[in-house]
Point group: C2
């Protein structure tokens, strides 16, 4: 597995054999390169930032839910380090090409398609796909390079270097709908002229584990654990992440009307149960359970269809429902699906888009529940109008433009679909993760704590942040990771057999801790302090009417895992 | 002299006798209150921020150039502490009412006129002046309250809580054109519902020095120094600050086309000489030399008129010429005056507006030199269109919205009209001042250094930052302050005679140092680190073609006076 460095200014490519990243993958690898090579105070859209696509250690191994890849850079949205990972098959194809990571350096003004094959790397003019919706762009690329390829793509938002621009990978059916959504990584790609990466694995062999027998055994044990966990085996395949709607609504954590409350009068209409029922009723191309990666037994994804049974978008997930639905006062799945479709076509982060729209509604620039007005507004992202640019800058900047007080962001990034007053452990994650308000950086919704209490939340978040850093480095979905319930030895066995080097659970944990240390260290150098490890002021001051709670985890306790804590200090 | 606390939520007023600020005025007072009472991490437009209007110690004394007042708060533009001071007569009238400072607390949604007279404070509905240009609003207030009043006002930008909203005081002729321009203090006023403050000194006595004879003597010496300094005695009264255009153009420091170079082919058309000639030629209401405060012998202000000799705007100053002229590729004084007039009428900071427009031009959203397009754009600030909101957010956010790399801001604030590659001491001030990129926080253009060299710049900036903090606390214009060339004993004698308490030069210097310590301490708590004490990346990397220099003052040397240095640490 090699690391390729691609200088986008002079379009040169070189293989990097100088650095030993042998047992690092995914987030551990992206964060190490960002930490070691990107000056922390650099302009995120300038020549000194780097954009790294890195596979997890298990990506392509055939283990369920383990084909994820990470993209890392300094984030234009948060100003800190960013890693965002996704599933689908693009990472898989990169691995099949024998590449652990692509490192994009420097900047350029025009846009290129980077074609990666066993014959090396070619740079083609991206003009034919500029300004197109992502699904159309993907079709054009398949037409040009063959239907066997996988792609990474940025949309019109990335071309415009918007803060909410994502990078799209594709699922196994070829839809470019697996998103590295958060942190504006699509804008970084845009600044480097990386419009599309075509992963062309024609004529290359499937990856094989070094120790096939041991690997088969380890897989069996691992999959057994997945199947025996109720969440993975039953809830996810049946309802997907949307199964959370009822849970969070009951807790008072479902973001509603710009996070002004945590339960929504129309929650039943946007629940996972309703989603499943609707898709099953309509039939056709729809399916309530869909695997984004081949062989995944969790299958939390879905394909949403219109009344004629034709594809609208895939997938409709909990975060989309929360941010584009209840948070905007929109209580209809068809409307949410249409907004989701537009976000996917333009290549924008649905969470950040929902956050921005919510703040605009709170300031009466748009109206809660006004579906037509909302769709029109989102379309302005593509048109690049001033208002489209405003939405494209994300919730935090929208708040500044309109003088808003209630802006649901941390480190400049919109909170995911969990009100931190009602699920306080997520508040701790939002505040203290080097990634900003990102639920995937430390999801605690299944932690054994009273979510309304301030007790035990810091520990729950800390554990979750450390565990997920392991999964993010291995290419494992955290649903799969969560199912193994701390049995990292099972994962270690899988890796040992796959790469043929002894790996222990302790090594995995140490690597995760090292990664978090590098990330916090980068952020400290970039100027983050404990003043940034805070939630928005109103979250401490104003009761969430649904949960009847404010956020009250003591700041000093959060600081024990925050950017200034000793927990995440490098030894040197 | 009393301090009044005005709670804008319940419209209660109380006199504060609990805190002893006897010898503190202006910036020393605003910064002390902000430091001691405003939580550093609070939302700048929320209930915990405070907005303080504080007179200098000498304001109203009759000493030339010493009637200034400070306004302080946590800045919505920089996120740090902010003090901005201005001349005119509004501070003077506040002093005549026996008030050292007004402290506005909490927030409200509607707007009030705060009427201050010897009978106390009344709150009137501001509806009649909402949405009006500032000159019209001032006329309405004079009609209602009498022509003897002075006012403080925010414009449509402050009502909309825009980042570039300023607070206007008035000059001795009644024009609301003396601006506390920087840092978005108008937005803070807007968040508190403070639309206007009417200072009604009917029936109150003129202030008298305690020791009249000693004061007369001290005044004589002080004014003699002013008159004997060439800059104060000759250049300023003749050319105003616009006399700097030729100087900075020669140095290559005149910001031109979004700070892309430092000399402008049409500089002669916008020089101080041309300005004087134009005003004298046109006659009528114009004057090339004008005192904003009664009795000022520097008279750096002017009144600019159209071809018919009718008032256009007052004053046209160097910063306006640089930021609204050469920085936008505009080389005609009539055009600059019209842009300046609009900025004044809308109550916006001309520097931040010019910075925002320059970045938009660099991204081809507007065009350099397109006067009509620029005027149309500025008018959108008043209309509150999305594009108007974008301009109103300032250059830094404009840069983020449009993915710009070359954004001439520090701590989120546009640099004043001096390219820091060509006047490197100002680069040090921009980088290290707690106020962000503000030339008034440490002007070094007259320092005895080679402005193109990196040598001696840190010391020059440090000296200037400390001196100006003294002037800012006394209500002294730094032109007057500069003229006394370090003879702080002269000022100490003036104060001693005026307030009847022995004040020494050492006390003045210590107070200034204490003030800077409080300001840096606030910023540290607000999350500032040495990562914020930097200029934009391109200023280090790309040569200014006019000066043939990059900014190269060593970062470590700047850190000796930056936010993390020991120089500005509190003892406790």
């Amino acid at each position: 597995m090699k690391i390729l460095r691609i200088n986008m200014k002079d379009l040169s490519v070189k293989e990097d054999n100088t650095i030993k990243y042998s047992s690092l993958g995914g987030r551990a690898l992206t964060s190490k390169i960002v930490h070691d090579e990107v000056p922390a105070t650099c302009h995120p859209l300038g020549p000194f930032n780097k954009l790294i696509f890195a596979n997890g250690v298990l990506t392509g191994s055939g283990a369920s839910s383990a084909d994820r890849y990470s993209i890392g850079a300094k984030s234009p949205l948060t100003g800190g380090i960013k890693e965002s990972n996704a599933g689908g098959v693009s990472g898989l194809k990169l691995g099949r090409l024998g590449i652990r990571a692509l490192v994009f350096e420097d900047v350029r003004d025009d846009f290129k398609i980077i074609h990666v094959s066993k014959n090396g790397i070619n740079f083609d003019d991206a003009a034919p796909i500029l300004g197109k919706d992502l699904s159309e762009a993907a079709d054009i690329l398949r037409e040009k390079y063959g239907s066997h390829i996988a792609v990474w793509l940025i949309g019109v938002s990335g071309e415009q270097k918007m803060n909410l621009a994502a990078i799209a990978g594709q699922d196994k059916e070829g839809l470019p709908t697996r998103f590295n959504g958060r942190g504006g990584l699509g804008a970084v790609a845009g600044s480097k002229g990386v419009k599309a990466i075509v992963l062309d694995d024609e004529g290359v062999e499937k990856n094989r584990p070094i120790d096939k027998d041991a690997f088969r055994e380890a897989m069996k044990t691992y999959h057994k654990w997945l199947m025996e966990t109720p969440g993975t085996a039953k809830v996810f395949p049946e309802l997907g992440t949307a199964g959370l709607v009822r849970t969070t609504n009951t807790l008072g954590a479902l973001p509603t009307r710009n996070f002004s409350t945590g339960s929504f009068e129309h929650f039943e209409n946007i629940s996972g149960e309703k989603l499943r029922e609707t898709i099953l009723e309509r039939g056709g191309e729809g399916t309530p359970t869909h695997a984004c990666m081949p062989g995944c037994i969790i299958r939390c994804s879905n394909v949403y269809v219109n009344k004629a049974g034709k594809l609208v978008t895939s997938p409709v997930e909990y975060e989309n429902i929360g941010l584009l639905g209840s948070n905007l006062g929109i209580g209809d799945l068809d409307d949410i699906a249409e907004l989701n479709r537009l976000c996917n076509e333009y290549g924008v982060d649905t969470i950040e888009t929902g956050g921005a729209l919510g703040v605009l509604m709170s300031q009466n620039v748009l109206s809660y529940g006004d579906v037509d007005g909302t769709i029109k507004a989102v379309k302005e992202i593509k048109e690049g109008t001033p208002f489209g640019r405003i939405i494209g800058s994300g919730a935090n900047i929208v708040g500044k433009l309109y003088g808003a007080y209630r802006v649901p962001t941390v480190k400049g990034q919109t909170m995911a679909a969990y009100d931190p007053r009602a699920i306080k452990g997520l508040g701790v994650t939002y505040a203290t993760s080097p990634m900003g308000a990102d639920h995937t950086a430390g999801q605690v919704i299944r932690a054994q704590v009273d979510h309304h209490s301030s007790e035990g939340q810091v520990k729950a978040s800390k554990d979750a942040q450390e565990s997920v850093t392991i999964f993010d480095s291995l290419g494992m979905c955290y649903f799969g990771g969560g199912a193994i319930q701390g049995r990292f030895d099972l994962i270690a066995d899988l890796i040992t057999a796959y790469i043929g080097q002894k790996v222990t659970a302790e090594f995995l944990k140490e690597t995760a801790l090292d990664t978090l240390k590098l990330e916090h260290d980068f952020n400290r150098k970039a100027g983050f302090t404990k003043a940034d490890d805070r939630l928005p002021e109103y979250i401490y001051m104003e009761e969430n009417p649904a949960s009847k709670t404010v956020f009250d985890v003591p700041q000093e306790e959060m600081e024990t895992i925050g950017v200034e804590s000793d927990t995440y200090r490098l030894n040197n």
